[in-house]
């Protein structure tokens, strides 16, 4: 009898559609939105919410891939530089060659996949620690981007990708298309990581590589997949950031990697691997976006935003640590 009860209890967390950290995040978000709605006249307006959702989209898109990478106990700090490569190539193609939008997106994703494959290949086959690999490619990708920039920022980019941008063309039913895309892909990835065998293998690799290998998981293939997926999403995020066109500057994407990692970690994904969901990452990205917008609307200096992001990271990870200790004690 006790064993049956024990088994049921052990199985329940896996069957829950939403976990403690995500619920808490949702609560924080609701409270924050309520307070900000009362404190300012402008927060709960359509245009502000549209702006928040649009700004969140690139972070959420890359965050989907980054969640997979971090779940395998890896990390990818090169995404900011990779975004710069994608942006400069696509912006020049659109402006100088007049590439149509679908082809531009295709090129961006293909380029992202190539960059991701370099990371994944070095991690899986070179057996180098992911943080070292991606620190190195962070530099190399930035070099490639700067070479293609050729000393000048790209100006006068036409709005070929406007349907993904932040302007009026980039909305469906009043919601930013880029954000809808992120939600759609996020939902697909959430389902994949939750229910598909190969998706579960990502957790197995992050939990214990040797055990996973002995259990027949194709560890290298899973690792390469995670980094390549991140690369593909970097391509999409690059398209979103070019969006309505205009100007692509040489410092494009600088610091983006830390924002994405912050969103993933705030969403409850364990940096040690083996635990975390895409849903949490989406909520984490939304929280970062909300804080950024709130600081501006409250008239505080925008440099305060990172302070709040830092505090949120500490609180989120601290809460997770406390729960992990409780799990162990039980």
């Amino acid at each position: 009898m006790t064993t049956v009860a024990h088994r049921l209890q052990a199985r329940r967390p896996a069957a829950r559609p939403i976990e403690g950290q995500e619920l808490a995040l949702l609560g924080v978000l609701v409270v924050l939105w309520g307070v900000l709605g009362l404190a300012t006249d402008t927060f709960l307006t359509g245009s502000n919410l549209q702006a928040i959702l649009f700004n969140v989209a690139p972070i959420a898109l890359i965050g989907i891939g980054m969640t997979a990478v971090i779940v395998t106990a890896g990390i990818d700090v090169s995404v900011g530089s990779a975004v710069a490569v994608v942006m400069v190539v696509v912006a020049k193609l659109i402006r100088d060659v007049g590439v149509p939008a679908p082809l531009a997106v295709l090129v961006a994703v293909a380029l992202g996949v190539c960059l991701g494959a370099i990371n994944g290949g070095l991690v899986a086959f070179g057996r180098i620690h992911p943080i070292i690999v991606t620190f190195a490619t962070l530099n190399v990708f930035r070099f490639v981007a700067l070479r293609i920039f050729d000393g000048r920022q790209v100006t006068g980019v036409p709005d070929t990708l406007g349907s993904l941008g932040g302007g009026a063309d980039g909305r469906i039913w009043g919601l930013p298309t880029a954000w809808l895309l992120a939600v759609l892909l996020g939902a697909a990835m959430w389902w994949y990581m939750r229910s598909w065998p190969t998706g579960r293998h990502l957790y197995a690799v992050g939990g214990d590589v040797r055990a996973a290998r002995l259990a027949g998981v194709r560890v290298r293939r899973r690792l390469v997949f995670a980094y390549v997926l991140t690369g593909a999403l970097v391509g999409l995020a690059g398209c979103v950031l070019i969006g309505s066109g205009g100007l692509v500057s040489q410092n494009a994407g600088e610091g983006l990697e830390l924002q994405v990692i912050a969103a993933v970690v705030i969403g409850g994904t364990s940096i040690m691997g083996g635990r975390g969901t895409v849903l949490g990452t989406m909520l984490g990205a939304l929280l970062v976006g909300t804080v950024t917008s709130a600081v501006t609307l409250l008239g505080w200096p925008s440099e305060l935003t990172p302070l709040f992001v830092g505090v949120f990271i500490l609180v989120a990870v601290g809460a997770d640590l406390v729960r992990a200790r409780r799990r162990k004690a039980r």
Binding site: I75, H129, F135, L258, A262, V265, P301, L307, V317
Partner: protein, 348 residues
């Protein structure tokens, strides 16, 4: 082939294998060889008139200016990474910014310079200790804890003076600290002797000749075994992060003096100071798993990167040189990490 010939062949091959093993396991020696290669290579380029300015001793001496922050922060990463459990410190650049602002405020407020320096070092130590408490006692993963404090410190530095640098007259006078001095006809930046060398010796003594150093490596190699050997694992790690903060405080003094201005984004602009520091530590043979790494290796790596960068600046016109520095850093990092993996697998 006679029997005698084959034995000499075998002996030679064994000697070669020994040499390869020596080069792969003694990182400082390998880097010294690489350094010679770099120097000769640029000398050849200069002889072929490919460089925009001569790559001579005077140029190399003045290039040492950028060695100081690079080397000190790489030593900070050495302490932290060797302490194990995924040890890393992303926040050193932000500490440089924030401690530098504290230094700037004190100097601009008319405090005597030595006292202001003490405040700056104390600020760095305190900020490092915060990292240490988070990782060692509250058991946050170091990558996350220092990512969070990176955000927090850099934000505080920016807000502290409303984004503006402090460059009033007393701060400008600090540049005397980094004025070059004449060494046998070469103009070497003063702080190479007054700050870098003493710090290098001090860190070497702590790591190699003190009980704390032995504890640090023990904790980094296997913290469970260290616990059973009655070491206070948390305290050793706290000290490592605090020491890293102290070194970042030293870099803050140097940076403020060098630019004659306390800039709120001194350590975080662009890719920041932390990423190059970690790169150099790894290049110097520090294993990211902890417990492995030497002061000599890190110092050689910093010197190699400094002189390589200085050469690249001459090899290309305009801003191209600084772009190729990024490529060189990335390639060298992957190369050295591959080397670490191979040598660990072959020679354990």
């Amino acid at each position: 082939m006679t029997a005698a010939e084959s034995t000499t062949n075998a002996r030679e091959r064994a000697r070669l294998a020994h040499l390869v093993e020596y080069l792969l396991t003694e990182r400082a020696v390998l880097l010294a060889v690489l350094l010679v290669v770099v120097l000769v290579w640029f000398k050849v380029l200069q002889a072929g008139q490919y460089l925009v300015a001569p790559y001579d001793l005077g140029y190399l001496a003045s290039a040492l200016e950028s060695l100081v922050p690079l080397c000190l922060l790489a030593l900070a990463e050495l302490l932290v990474i060797v302490s194990g459990r995924g040890g890393i410190d992303l926040s050193v650049g932000a500490i440089v910014s924030l401690a530098g602002m504290a230094f700037g405020f004190c100097v601009a407020g008319g405090w005597p310079v030595p006292l202001a320096m003490l405040v700056c070092l104390a600020a760095g130590t305190l900020l490092g200790a915060v990292n240490g408490v988070l990782t060692a006692y509250l058991r946050f993963p170091p990558l996350i804890a220092t990512l969070a404090t990176y955000y927090a410190y850099s934000s505080l530095a920016m807000v502290s003076n409303d984004r503006a640098p402090i460059s009033t007259e007393p701060v400008q006078r600090l540049s005397a600290l980094t004025r070059p001095i004449d060494v046998f006809g070469l103009y070497v930046p003063r702080h190479v002797f007054t700050i870098l060398l003493p710090c290098l010796v001090l860190v070497w003594l702590v790591v190699n000749r003190s009980t704390y150093g032995r504890k640090l490596y023990a904790v980094g190699t296997n913290d469970v075994a260290a616990t059973f050997a009655a070491l206070s694992v948390a305290r050793v790690r706290l000290a490592a992060y605090t020491g890293a903060g102290l070194l970042a405080g030293v870099v803050a003094v140097v940076t403020v003096a060098q630019f004659a201005s306390a800039r709120p984004d001194a350590g975080t602009v662009g890719n920041g100071m932390a990423l190059p520091a970690i790169t150099i530590a790894v290049l110097g043979g520090v294993a990211i798993q902890g417990g492995i790494g030497t002061v000599g290796g890190v110092a050689m790596a910093a010197l190699l990167v400094t002189w390589l960068n200085a050469g690249l600046l001459l090899a290309f016109e305009g801003s191209e040189g600084s772009q190729y520095q990024l490529l060189a850093l990335g390639v060298v990092l992957v190369g050295s990490a591959l080397l670490n993996t191979i040598s660990l697998r072959r020679y354990g």
